[in-house]
């Protein structure tokens, strides 16, 4: 990845669970703990969407979480990138025929990076974050 000077800060991510089975959650946490340790590049999870550059969405978006997802999405400051982790957020996955879904995620909010897998490995999640950072670079460059 070739970084330009346009994105000149650490990338912070906010994680939103829209009804996932926890598999992606634990792999996201596994991805930020010492074996992979992306925090040395400044990538970390934050507790508020207002501090985040990247919104990580897991789960197939159940009906109850739709409005909350929209609200959280609006709270993330621009420029923002949305990353959808797990196959159920990309297409519904094993829950494709459920009666309680408003998803997949891209029916609710625009998604920039898809990380497929059920759940994806931590390496895949980190690769997704790198692609998200490239997009942020571009967005930030266009604004400048």
């Amino acid at each position: 990845m070739k970084l330009t000077k346009s994105f000149n800060r650490s990338l912070w991510a906010f994680h939103f669970n829209s009804g996932s089975c926890n598999g992606c959650e634990i792999e996201i946490v596994a991805a930020i703990t010492p074996r992979y340790d992306p925090e040395r590049f400044g990538i970390k999870l934050v507790g508020s969407p207002r501090h985040a550059d990247l919104l990580i969405v897991t789960g197939p978006v159940v009906k109850k979480m739709r409005d909350r997802l929209l609200r959280v999405y609006e709270q993330v400051p621009d420029p923002k990138v949305v990353m959808c982790v797990g196959v159920c957020g990309s297409s519904g996955g094993p829950f494709y025929d459920s009666y309680n879904l408003d998803g997949p995620v891209d029916d609710v909010i625009p998604v920039d990076v898809y990380v497929p897998g059920c759940p994806p490995r931590p390496e895949a999640i980190i690769y997704g974050v790198v692609r998200a950072q490239e997009k942020l670079e571009r967005l930030e460059g266009e604004r400048a």
């Binding site: 926890n22 598999g23 010492p34 508020s48 909350r68 829950f95 025929d97 009666y99 059920c118």
Partner: protein, 411 residues
């Protein structure tokens, strides 16, 4: 809700959730506070309801096994095992003995990784992030072994109706033993950090108490019940898979501490000791595992044909890392079950939050909520409809309060 003493103070209401990354899962809490003290606690799960049972009744049991993996990503094998056992009882399948042992081995590895995961999250809630990173690093060893045995880190997909889909070959034994030795060497260190550290003692001792009577009255299960002194463990009480042949004793906190208080600290003790116990069970399994088949029937069409002859109902139970999971299945001579009901372990444990939380301080909420190891994706089988949410206290504020309390106590 009855009002306590309305005269002096105005109780105010603090809503927390449903989005706060502490739990990694959405649940909505409402606390009525009296100063710093929790007067009344209430919660509304149901934010991750995906209608799994409804979907399951439209699929055949071979497909459902992979759906049960995804009821909960942490208990990847527990739900599949309980479901498979229910179906096997209806169809009167004799599972090969070797498959029973492999099931027990995978279930115990799952318990190791799940308890370490929980220990890390508990440390994080206390503001002890160094310990979070330590436990999650040592957890990776179990994840590697699970990946070696099943081919996946999470959602293993190893259970099949009538057996398991992968055998454990002799060349995998050294790697398993290496992993078990690693945890044996580590156990002393982990116990020392968790049990002798002053910070953890201060925050967890006599905090979030669940008495034995309450534990029985609220039908809590698993480590939450055992930490309150209830001697129960499905592996011992109703042996299944290979557990009947193995030497297992439920772990109670007085074995290590000499007394049972039913507080958060006792729950930490029970879970950490169970890591050691699980490693012992895996060792026993590897020693006595017989050779033989791993599947009752290898041809999928034959299994599907057998479903169409199956009539009856059965209950499958399994001691998951969080407690007993129970699957009720009814088959009426069709390929798909006519009824399927899941009772996850957290479903039984959630109500114990209320006696634990009431009377405690607001800064203790994160650790008490985490102390039962809640798993809401398991639990939300039924949508509970309840409205009302306004200003939301973020996890960050809550975490800050918790960290501040630790700092204050350390001074």
């Amino acid at each position: 809700m009855s009002d306590g003493n309305p005269a002096k103070t105005t109780p105010y209401t603090v809503p927390i959730g449903p989005i706060h990354p502490a739990l990694k899962e959405p649940v909505m809490f409402t606390f009525r506070m009296n100063g710093e003290q929790i007067e009344k606690a209430d919660f509304a799960p149901g934010q991750t309801h995906r209608g799994i049972e409804w979907m399951g009744m439209r699929r055949n049991p071979i497909q459902i096994v992979h759906l049960t993996d995804r009821i909960c990503g942490i208990c990847g094998v527990s739900h599949s095992l309980a479901f498979a056992r229910a179906v096997e009882q209806i169809m009167e399948i004799d599972v090969p003995e070797r498959a029973d042992y492999i099931r027990a081995i995978i279930a115990e590895f799952e318990r190791i990784q799940s308890h370490l995961l929980w220990a890390g999250m508990a440390a994080h809630e206390l503001g002890f992030d160094t310990l979070l990173h330590l436990t999650w690093r040592v957890r990776e060893q179990a994840m590697d072994t699970i990946e070696l045995l099943t081919g996946n880190r999470v959602n293993y997909g190893i259970i099949q109706i009538g057996g398991v889909r992968r055998d454990i070959t002799p060349d995998q034994h050294p790697a398993i033993h290496e992993c078990l030795d690693y945890y044996r060497d580590l156990q002393g260190k982990l116990l020392r950090i968790f049990l002798e550290d002053a910070t953890i003692q201060m925050r967890c001792r006599d905090c979030g108490i669940l008495t034995r009577d309450d534990a029985l009255r609220l039908c809590t299960v698993g480590p939450t019940a055992r930490a309150s002194g209830v001697n129960m463990d499905v592996r011992v009480d109703f042996p299944y898979a290979a557990y009947g042949d193995l030497d297992i004793e439920p772990i109670l906190p007085d074995r290590y501490l000499g007394e049972t208080r039913g507080d958060v600290f006792d729950r930490i003790v029970v879970r950490l000791l169970e890591v050691e116990q699980s490693a012992g069970i895996i060792r026993q399994c590897l020693d006595v595992m017989p050779a033989g088949d791993i599947l009752w029937e290898t041809k999928i069409p034959k299994i599907l044909a057998a479903f169409k002859k199956a009539h009856g109902e059965a209950v499958g139970r399994h001691e998951a890392p969080r407690g007993e999971v129970l699957h009720y299945v009814r088959m009426d001579g069709k390929e798909h079950p006519t009824a399927w009901k899941v009772k996850a372990s957290s479903y039984s444990n959630l109500m114990s939050w209320i006696p634990m939380l009431e009377g405690e301080q607001i800064a203790d909420i994160p650790i008490i909520v985490a102390s039962i190891d809640p798993c809401l994706s398991c639990t939300d089988r039924v949508a509970v409809v309840r409205g009302g949410r306004r200003s939301i206290m973020t996890k960050e504020e809550l975490h800050r309060l918790s960290v501040e309390k630790t700092r204050r106590l350390m001074r």
